[in-house]
Subunit: 411 residues, 4 copies
Amino acid sequence: MIAVKDSVHDHIEIDGIGADLIDTPALQRLRRISQMGTVTYVYPSANHTRFEHSLGVYHIASQAVEKLDINGRTAETIRAAALLHDVGHGPYSHNTEAVIHRHTGRYHDEVLDLLETGAIAGILQEHGIEPTAVAELIRGDGRYGQLISGELDVDRMDYLVRDAHHTGVPYGTIDHERFVRELRYVDGELVLAPGNVQTAESLLLARALMNRAVYNHPTARISRAMLARAAERLIETGAIDGTGLRRMDDHDLLVTLRSNQATQHIADRLDSRSLFKRAVWAELDDAPDELLASEFDDRAALETEIAEAAGVDPAAVILDVPPSPSMAESTSRVVVNGEIRPLSSQSALVRALLTAQRDRWRFGVYTPEESTIAVGKATERVLGLDIDHLVTDDHWGRPATLSEFTEVGDS
Amino acid sequence: MIAVKDSVHDHIEIDGIGADLIDTPALQRLRRISQMGTVTYVYPSANHTRFEHSLGVYHIASQAVEKLDINGRTAETIRAAALLHDVGHGPYSHNTEAVIHRHTGRYHDEVLDLLETGAIAGILQEHGIEPTAVAELIRGDGRYGQLISGELDVDRMDYLVRDAHHTGVPYGTIDHERFVRELRYVDGELVLAPGNVQTAESLLLARALMNRAVYNHPTARISRAMLARAAERLIETGAIDGTGLRRMDDHDLLVTLRSNQATQHIADRLDSRSLFKRAVWAELDDAPDELLASEFDDRAALETEIAEAAGVDPAAVILDVPPSPSMAESTSRVVVNGEIRPLSSQSALVRALLTAQRDRWRFGVYTPEESTIAVGKATERVLGLDIDHLVTDDHWGRPATLSEFTEVGDS
Amino acid sequence: MIAVKDSVHDHIEIDGIGADLIDTPALQRLRRISQMGTVTYVYPSANHTRFEHSLGVYHIASQAVEKLDINGRTAETIRAAALLHDVGHGPYSHNTEAVIHRHTGRYHDEVLDLLETGAIAGILQEHGIEPTAVAELIRGDGRYGQLISGELDVDRMDYLVRDAHHTGVPYGTIDHERFVRELRYVDGELVLAPGNVQTAESLLLARALMNRAVYNHPTARISRAMLARAAERLIETGAIDGTGLRRMDDHDLLVTLRSNQATQHIADRLDSRSLFKRAVWAELDDAPDELLASEFDDRAALETEIAEAAGVDPAAVILDVPPSPSMAESTSRVVVNGEIRPLSSQSALVRALLTAQRDRWRFGVYTPEESTIAVGKATERVLGLDIDHLVTDDHWGRPATLSEFTEVGDS
Amino acid sequence: MIAVKDSVHDHIEIDGIGADLIDTPALQRLRRISQMGTVTYVYPSANHTRFEHSLGVYHIASQAVEKLDINGRTAETIRAAALLHDVGHGPYSHNTEAVIHRHTGRYHDEVLDLLETGAIAGILQEHGIEPTAVAELIRGDGRYGQLISGELDVDRMDYLVRDAHHTGVPYGTIDHERFVRELRYVDGELVLAPGNVQTAESLLLARALMNRAVYNHPTARISRAMLARAAERLIETGAIDGTGLRRMDDHDLLVTLRSNQATQHIADRLDSRSLFKRAVWAELDDAPDELLASEFDDRAALETEIAEAAGVDPAAVILDVPPSPSMAESTSRVVVNGEIRPLSSQSALVRALLTAQRDRWRFGVYTPEESTIAVGKATERVLGLDIDHLVTDDHWGRPATLSEFTEVGDS
């Protein structure tokens, strides 16, 4: 048995398959994948890694498995999936995920190939566990997949608390012990025991507040977009391919960006935190339908068009359009009056979160500070926006257009 | 200058009028007034007092005054009001407030009489501060009253964090430093600086979550109702009057309840945590209009009627009807696009809180465990309720009627 | 199973005999016994109670029992002892312990009489557990007694962390999870596993630092001495006897002190924090041998003599002489090279703690502020001290003689 | 004014020269220098950086400057020095310091060259501050140098608390607010105000406990020695020089180690945490005098000799000999009876720390696991040690020779 001291859960005990997996290269690599990528530009204390998060998820999964009275190989499979659930992440975690997906067809939770080779494959075999069984759980499939990746999964029970601990932002501090205590399987579905509407609400609220203050802070979005752009360029130059990118760690990627002529200028900016600024920051209602419907190539074309209209280098314009806020985060199930019901049907608060998510949605156009005015006006023309309308305070309290942050951090 | 070590704010520095007021009997008495009254029956660690809370409020007020650049006598008056804002509380704080108000006409924030006499009066005079000026701030009146008692007051910035620290429930952990930093006066109104819709939301959400999990936990409500009933009985027996009750501390009241024949049985129950149980726990839609409109005397008559119908002692039936959930908690003001707007107009989440508050409203009828069925049925007849309808899971996950908790605590 | 939310350990699960014992009057009474007595005069946040501490000790004992693989009735007996270990405390815990011992012959850990009667007796019997077995563990006797009351007991693993949490003083924050993990029985002795010299040291250091900054802070000692004096006077007046005092709670004692003519003046002082001040605060080398050897009656006589010499009321002089610092706190056993050794033999730090304890020892004479000079001089004459020698800075940075604190708190 | 959210100090406000310096490349580089280097192999949550630490030191320095009533340019110089105090660190902070010193003659606090060039030079000039003045403070010279680098410096007030926060080890949790409050200048010397012997002790104790449990944990020492060895090899191959190494960040160094044939095998081991193990782990009394007196070249020769005797590659033997424990850590000054005295003269505990430091001193010989026995025996012969004597439990509870940890972490 191994005992690891963790800043969030104190001692984490690891044994069985966990103890064997811990020293595999695929897992040790996560020591060099930052959990939050460029969020550290906003919250400088947020330097934690996917490795410590994986240990935390393993820890909560072990507790959940015990509370739910799951035993034997099923339990070992769940614990293995918990520990391995993030081995598919590329450098800077989610920051490069879209790029990798475009070039490999794989999201971070599609990891069967990584489980079927190398040290992990051997260990799974020794324990009589099929890689496919683990990969399915990591994808969120099946009865127990909900526990690893679902609305009530052990993943977010760890990351909300851990991200709060490391950023200093209190909103993520959920009562994770209560969640684990209240999990139940009813008719094959993972739900919270009766009397936990508020418990479920608190999880969604924590996530919504953390989304805005942390994960989607404008500065985090800008730097993330710059990093993704640079990674894309790297692939375009042929220096690496998507599969290579997927297996890099933060160190590899950053040093490679510095050494490649096509990406050096972005690496310089990231190194010295000379980030692009917002030329446009606009609400959902201002976003033309074709923009919302656009795909990667369309957006690249728009960037070029805006750059030309503004008389700047195409490399100096980044268009950042998040997915439409249509995906409900409210499919958690609670038991009320003996029936399993979707949380959103029980909670006005959760329904309001969906509205709020729409209200807070923004698309942005980013460019070096000296070009913000030109690029803002060019975007206006190209996309047919009403730029005056856009000159408005955004929810971070600063003029949303033609403006910028100088802060190192801001909550 | 005095420096006090505090479990929430670390060192609190007190000087000027604060240092003089700190050792007055009226303030030292708050060491013996528990902050949360009977909530400790649910959360056994919640034994903090109005004294430490008052120091915390003074601390935040001092920071706010500095940030807002308020100086001189105005600043001293605000600091004095912050330190003194709770001297009007009776024993067990809010638990006895309604009883005291009924008999003295005073709520806990009506303290002019206490400021005009004794040591406090002398100190205020020495510092050239009018008792009326301090009393007004404590009532929430005027430009600076909003800072002491209003939607964005320093009172709740302390109590949410402190109550979270002492109960162990994380929901109250707001970012209180950010609040203080973002306060502004615009046209005489205290608002949050532009870009703080989320900051404001987080305060209301924290309060809503704490309300349900902590302040209005059913067991807290039951024990609070028992304590209030006992205090009322004490006055009826002539043992004390309202004014006397108002100046007691927790120790006085508890020992007096034990020694008075009319209240001894409740004191025994409180001492040994043999609390009444819920005979009825019903939603707003089930509450007859006349019940909602009823006053103290009407409810006392109903209690007697129910007791007779159930064949139990009138002392064994307590009817607990909270105020209608009409009072908006959403009058915080935020600045959006240069205009001061009510938070509720800007936030779907805050509007949802109002709905949620209505959904969670419950009235209860409490009685000793052995009488819950009889009293439940009697209430059904007397109030014309449909008892079957009431047999439902409540949001704490337990049958709402004819049931009970055995837990010491529950979040 | 009962789950209680605790501010230190988060959720505490209680079942078996624990769940039955929790609602007994003897245990519920501990809700009204403050853990630290008058320490709250120094650290105003320190209002926690013996009840929450008892739950914490139960929690750690449950973990220890599991780690040590102790099962069945033995385990239940240990858990019962952990939960009940403080039921023998009088009001304000240790503050009244010497008074109670003088009049009843019982220290707080001598509780057999309390286990053989009332609700507790019945519950023990139902579970087939002998009251004597529980009482022995609470006394620290036998193989498992070391776990409840010994150098490595679960009692201090809880109180150090809990007292740190509530005072805000960080020194007590030991790594309690590590302690529980490293406990072993070797040849019937409870020891720490090999490699834990530092773990053991950290416990003693934490205790030493907390002793000075918290438990024996001069203001805490003064107020404690005043409370003990008042309790003694109460018994002398015949208002209560030692057995009665032992069963009071804080509320009872305080209200009784207020209502008794002989003690009212001390109650007034405690209520308004008008504490006595130090007239003398002297080191071990300055303490006459006969003072160190004196018993209660001798000291009472000395107090009278000093009062007469100073021309003040005998009630205005309190002589506070702590036990000689001879008791080693270093009998913890560690395993080094396969041998059980006393920690002090392995640790220069622990040996230094013994020296430090001697260096920090002080006896005090306390009196109202206006009499400090007269009483200081009178003490000089009566005890034959060299008062000039005493006018020195003490380790709290203030003149040790004829001086005083005005602070509310000081760490 | 910039406000940064920090996980340790909450909001840190930066203005004046601090706000100008924050975005210089030299400071932003510290985002990619880990605070604790290889300690993360023991405590996986310890991924914090020199950047966040520098902000924390700036924060405490600002508080100290205010408390000490230091103003104007002196204050700005101190704040600048606090923010810049770590810009001289090489990759992985102290881990590469000896290598860099050997090749450049500079320790991490010798930074004048870095202050006289680039963006920093310009900013200092704008503020009318001499680079030499800042560099002197960083070296610990002069009246105010003690504040930046001395026994009571703001550096350790931040790092002890921050390292505790991120490792999860509680020992470093000092009362840093109290330190800042109690600092005084007496006769040009920085001391703690009277009454702070214990405060000073607590700092040294915290550091001693953190040293053993964290900074000098055997696994941290082994991985640190491996990293230093690899960096040395890199310079030997001519791939970089000392000056180049000094300006790398963690990412640069790690990627360069991977790509250089001479260091690839160590990079592989570090990437996959296949660390060397201890072949020898011996006490001070067992260390031959010539070993203690040896310099770098002598040790390199010994390593080769041992490798030959063991029949292994010279790259597979690392000799790790810490400096002799002669440097007192106890030169803190306290004021007792109006005199400035060295803390060690006032504190038996501090004197004991010196002894303890000697007791805990170990030199190690590290090698791949499969060679531990051969290398252990070879070391025995080469250094003339008594190997049987060495086969002993060390204070981490594991056989000190021929053994190893498998744990990810251990406190």
